[in-house]
Symmetry: C2
Subunit: 696 residues, 2 copies
């Protein structure tokens, strides 16, 4: 983006300057005119153009022009020079009798310079895009994209690449954005002129620039470590804010590789500028003058979550000493739905089975590269090493946020971090859906919340504008305990499933009135009954929890206190229903209520408040693999040999072409206050939609 | 902003709830229908309206309707209730033989509630403005305005009001924004329902809310201190994020007074939300449910600077032991231009004469109140107490920014902080002009800069989008050493005046060619010659500084090294000219070059770099009072008894109808490296334009 330069000429002196093609040189014809000047004339070599502004009365440029007030000589050149001082311009001054009083001379060395990036986002670094110096969202937006280099090219001694001080492998280059310095001009710059690449202090926290010493043409082949080091030297970083770059002469290109160091956050809006200046020397005791500056802008790609409606790629579960039954069910279910089951063994999970809570899968995207990125929760259970040790790797990034002081609550586990399918709300389109987290009511004095640094990170990504739901009414406190999304062939392409005690009571009343009042819940195979070691469940306010001896439909319907507890739970879920309908633009027809009962318990920690736990296995806490639903087996009342809850579930899902598989997680998950979804995690494919095309 | 609430009814039970007028209650007719229900009917008291959605086939509402899938009953009331549970609705369920199977009853207490602010910015708090919950710039924007309560009602033991823990005087209330809670309903809320005002943790850093215990109608008369305290209790603050507010019953209003605590900055975007929730009790062992939340949004008013084109109100100068001559000149000039001169005496300035550098006058504005606010520079010279001790007071605010670690340079003095008159740049209108500061080139390694916390504050105010100029080439380093603005009757209403060594040389060459080569500069009255005590000027690279024995025009024109130094200075000023033309949308016709010469010196501190000082008193460093310009007397070469520089200056200004008065600041200011502008400061009137009408 060239612009204008005011230049002083001096009578009977010769000024020689570098001129950058595309800019204007402005010379005040009057300023250095000797006393008694009445006329002036301008002469220049062929490749120099000039105009006089305001234009003189006479049209011919040959005869001397009258010198009036402050007429400007605007000088332009359209091509680079081949040799130094190749082009000339002179201004001659005449007295009233046309006698020459003096001549001011200007020697010009023209350069073509442009610092280029892929500002039109087509994967190619075009030359001098007029929009490269600013960033705009939307399909006809512009501005280059930068990835945080948070994967790790090495599979041993792993650290994210952005924390290494050098480029270790050529594969790392494809995670970076190409930036090309294109110059045309004489073989050498006039003495002491310099080209300098520079960034601001604050931007230096977020970006590094490497230079490729291979002139753009050579392709990159085999590499030894040392040759690699000096072929891709580090140019700009936190320690080096500005650095001279060589002028190669003739028609040349230098490739730079730019990498992002950190994600957008509360204190960083994601925008980074890199500048290339031509420095004109004056004397060594005064600073060089940047006579031309070209600026390019990058925006760091946001971290994007993947909703249940995206295709599953890998399913992760843990294998523990006691979850054989669950694992068998999962293997059969995942296999049947045609996907890969990846098992995290005990040496890595150290007995921590809650794969959903330690991490959230997402990804980052750019025109030139995309890869999955795991967000590591500050929960740091026994499973805390799994994301870093097992997932971080080549083209698999890693990011985490840990609070320094704030203490961690159960709401920081990522069963409490979900994302809706794409929605449109009052005309505003959310092609990536919206992030959902659970917190306490703002009016609550002693409520639990998701830690601020994680919330700040989620809100700062912008492209999945988060919604805060109320989940503090639950003992564990995760949004996946009362809601999920399943794909659907019609309407908005999905349904919101909500746990509904009212729906359960309606079902049980129907069973009772159909004569099944005696049917029993919890008829679990005896083998499963023994106590679970490890996590000690909280004391139960009501009698049902610890000893699951079976209970009949009649007994449930006659227990008024149990009904009152579930009316409270229904009011909490109704509150969330209203928020979800408003913030996701849903109607009743987009929601399906599932028959799920809860009970209130008072936990050891939260001495005073009652909080809710699922009464029988929480069917909404399911795993969704395309049309296949892996649902916690509810052990509901049997009618003609079939579980009425399973039957109701299947009938509700049938209409959407969804296939239910019930997985027995009773002993190893439900009794430890979690279910199938809490014990699993699914890495999914990426959206086709490109985040930079979002209208913001 | 009311919205929908999903409500569960229960067969053969009565639910009684508070309903907020303007919202919809959604009841699922199917959910609590007893088994075997085929028909249902709805009945309600007159002031309750309902519709069935999707609408039933038959039109008449009397005969029982067939119970199908999930038809919703949507309940509305248009007026508040007079008494509790005054309105009723019941849903009756029938078997296939129309036998009544059960009835679900709902008792309703309707409330009208709205938390109101002056969202249409007309100084009046209108009822329930639909836009009160968001903020939008522009003439048809919306959103309430909040002032930082940074003045001080007391004139002794001064601290800004926002740092006091209570409202000390009724005058403080007019600096705050009125917020009115309007309620209509029965005398008393159903038991345990509560109204709660609440703000987020981060907003609590920026706002406080007081409550007026006088029901809106009483006007405020005389006050004793204690009665004051309990009439205006503090409701919300950093320590109290949510607080119950009383429900007064009937048709009532409670006035709240809201004050801003801090200005917009890098870490605070200026937006604050305050929420009013209706809390529904369930049982004391579970949190109350916010069944309705009304939100209002404020934006904190930005700090606005005042350019030379605004009318002067007060002129401030210092009186020191040695500046009698300057003071006499200023008194005469300020008096002649019809304005007040305020003198800061030695007890307060302790010998520090640089009134321009310690502070910058500005103001804050809102529909209900406006007052000047002084920005106190982190320079902290001997004059550092003046802004707090002398300026802070009733309706005169104070704000400062001090870096904790970064050390202070001369560029932090506010001679380096100016603002342009209003401009339009490529179609974008800046009705408040643009802030100008001086920094080093971004490519300089050892350059001086304005400290980051001050830059962050200036950039965060948004309404005078700052421009960074290059001033590090100057020994002192302030933008007011090479530029200023004067009012003009035509074009853009002003001219930019730039110091121009080239213009000076052209003038001197003309004098020489007219035979005045022998004319002498610096013919200063002998009395003035004695050395100045105090600040020791730097060693001079060239011989002219210390002993101002006079020098002739010929000697100046023959001194090649002096000319080379001024060519360098001209190139620095040209660089700034190009930035100013581009960023303020100026053409050559908007600029006047003043004949001013500089010399390069190497200071004690900046051992290596040469930096520039004015050679004779720097005429651009003038004070502008409307059409009257107070200009440093240049002591230039005399022609026919008149100073040629003064004559040139007058001729350049005459065309704009501006009157030049030359003030002798030679001994007490020029020789201490500053001039008239550096030694004075002008508080000016405010813009008529309102900042919230800006298109952003
Ligand atoms: Ca990499
Ligand atoms: Ca999750
Ligand atoms: Ca006040
Ligand atoms: Ca100033």
């Amino acid at each position: 983006m060239a612009h204008n330069r005011t230049l002083g000429l001096y009578c009977d002196q010769t000024i020689s300057v570098v001129y950058v093609v595309g800019s204007d040189l402005l010379i005040n014809s009057n300023r250095c005119a000797p006393p008694g000047t009445d006329f002036f004339s301008v002469k220049c070599t062929p490749n120099v153009q000039y105009i006089i502004s305001p234009p003189p009365q006479e049209t011919s440029h040959l005869s001397p022009l009258p010198l009036s007030g402050d007429s400007m000589i605007i000088v332009r050149m359209s091509h680079a020079s081949d040799t130094e001082n190749e082009s000339k311009l002179s201004v001659r001054y005449y007295g009233s009798d046309k006698k020459v009083l003096g001549t001011a001379r200007l020697y010009l060395t023209a350069l073509e310079i442009s610092l280029d990036v892929d500002a039109d986002r087509d994967g190619v670094v075009e030359r001098n895009n007029p929009n490269k110096g600013s960033w705009k969202w939307g399909p006809n937006g512009h501005g280059a994209v930068l990835l945080v280099n948070c994967d790790c090219e090495r599979t041993y001694w792993k650290t994210p690449d952005s924390e290494k001080t050098y480029i270790s492998k050529v594969s790392d280059l494809k995670d970076m954005s190409l930036m090309v310095l294109r110059t045309r001009g004489p073989a050498k710059l006039p003495n002491d002129y310099k080209l300098t690449l520079h960034i601001s202090q604050s931007d230096a926290e977020s970006v590094r620039v490497f230079r490729s010493k291979l002139t753009g043409k050579q392709n990159v082949t085999s590499y030894s470590f040392t040759s690699f080091l000096n072929d891709y030297p580090l140019v700009l970083s936190r320690e080096v804010l500005s650095q001279e770059v060589p002028y190669l002469g003739g028609d040349a290109e230098i490739n730079f590789y730019v990498e992002g160091l950190r994600f957008t956050d509360k204190d960083f809006n994601g925008l980074i500028s890199i500048n290339l200046s031509v420095l004109e020397p004056i004397s060594e005791r005064v600073p060089e003058t940047p006579i031309f500056t070209d600026k390019v802008v990058f925006r760091v790609a946001p971290w994007i979550m993947t909703p249940n409606t995206l295709d599953p790629l890998e399913v992760f579960v843990c294998s523990t000493a006691d979850n054989y039954q669950f694992l068998k069910g999962m293997k059969n279910f995942v296999g049947k739905s045609g996907h890969k089951l990846k098992i995290c063994y005990e040496y890595m999970n150290r007995g921590d089975r809650w794969m959903q809570d330690e991490l959230e899968f997402g990804y980052i995207d750019s025109p030139h590269q995309r890869f999955p990125v795991v967000l590591d929760s500050p929960r740091d259970g026994k499973l805390q090493d799994f994301p870093y040790k097992e997932l971080l790797g080549p083209d698999f990034g890693y990011v985490t946020r840990e609070p320094d002081r704030e203490n961690i609550s159960s709401l920081d586990s990522f069963g409490n971090l979900e994302v809706s399918p794409p929605v449109t709300v009052n005309g505003k389109n959310y092609p990536f859906g919206r992030i959902l987290i659970g917190v306490a009511f703002p009016t609550a004095t002693k409520g639990r919340n998701m830690t601020k640094v994680v919330q700040d990170f989620l809100w700062a990504q912008k492209v999945q504008d988060p919604i805060a739901l109320f989940s503090d009414w639950l003992y564990v406190g995760h949004v996946d305990e009362f809601m999920t999304f399943v794909p659907a062939p019609d309407r908005k392409g999905f349904r919101l499933l909500l746990a509904s005690p009212d729906a359960a009571f309606k079902l049980f009343r129907r069973l009772q009135s159909n004569g099944h009042g005696e049917a029993k819940l919890f008829e679990v195979k005896t083998g499963e009954r023994k106590k679970e070691k490890g996590f000690s469940p909280p004391t139960a306010a009501c009698k049902h929890l610890t000893d699951e001896e079976s209970i009949t439909v009649d007994e449930i319907l006659n227990d008024d206190s149990f009904h009152v507890q579930n009316m409270y739970v229904q009011s909490c879920i109704n509150w969330n229903r209203d928020v979800l309908k408003r913030e996701l633009g849903l109607e009743e027809e987009d929601i399906i209520d599932l028959p799920i009962l809860f009970k209130l318990v008072v936990g050891t920690k939260h001495q005073d408040a009652y909080r809710a736990l699922a009464y029988y296995p929480d069917m909404v806490n399911m795993i969704v693999l395309g049309k296949h639903l892996g649902i916690p087996k509810p052990f509901g009342p049997k009618v003609d040999g079939h579980c009425a809850l399973e039957a109701e579930m299947c009938s509700l899902m049938e209409g959407l072409g969804l296939k239910c598989t019930f997985i027995d997680d009773f002993a190893s998950y439900h009794k430890l206050l979690g279910e199938v979804h809490c014990g699993s995690n699914v890495r999914r494919g990426m959206f086709d939609f490109k985040w930079w095309n979002l209208e913001m």
